[in-house]
Symmetry: C2
Subunit: 120 residues, 2 copies
């Protein structure tokens, strides 16, 4: 079991050539005993973006704060707080911050991918 | 794929004798093609509570709004926005609204349980 406020989990910069201005916090993961999937929080600076890529597993996303857009089904679609996004397995996707503040969202993934590389 | 704002998904009352003042919205589920786990949103009225129970699968929770408490590890612990909660398999748990407004949180579960009974 675990209860933690996200502010008490240190963000770490996601340092990849295909991403910019991205930090992540690992809120719940296999390290906590979660048997199936993990909860991460991503924070994108204004102008920041995650990699444009696809992979074999899904993302379940919930937007908490900020303005942005997501590549989904071949088109960029606007993102606002309260949006839930399902990125299916093998679906190309990218998240971009198009606003003036932080774009903050939860992104849940199956466990196997989450521990080795939190940006997946 | 799917992108939807939670406000556009109709909440439905959770009508169980062991719960009170609870509504749920199913944001992402197997019906959307999600292969492994589902995202639900729960809204508890002031004084509302979910069942005090346990089951074989986990919950991954994130508090969005309001004040409350969660039974976890045999004790009630305060809940505030930004809290992430991991309820392990077979862990007894209950969520209660102790504030004056809505207590709103996300609760993610493995798929098999989510479609048949969203309060699990």
């Amino acid at each position: 079991m675990k209860k933690v406020n996200y502010r008490d989990i240190q963000p770490f910069p996601v340092d990849r050539p295909d991403a910019s201005g991205v930090a992540a916090r690992l809120l719940i993961s296999r390290a906590d005993g979660a048997p199936n999937f993990s909860m991460r929080m991503f924070e994108l600076e204004p102008g920041g973006y995650t990699p444009r890529h696809s992979h074999s597993y899904e993302h379940l996303v919930f937007v908490l704060e900020g303005e942005g857009e997501v590549l989904l089904g071949g088109a960029f679609r606007p993102l606002a707080p309260g949006d839930a996004v399902f990125v299916p397995p093998d679906g190309e996707h990218q998240f971009r911050n198009t606003g003036g503040g932080t774009l903050r969202f939860l992104c849940l993934v199956p466990n196997a991918s989450a521990v080795s590389d939190p940006l997946k």
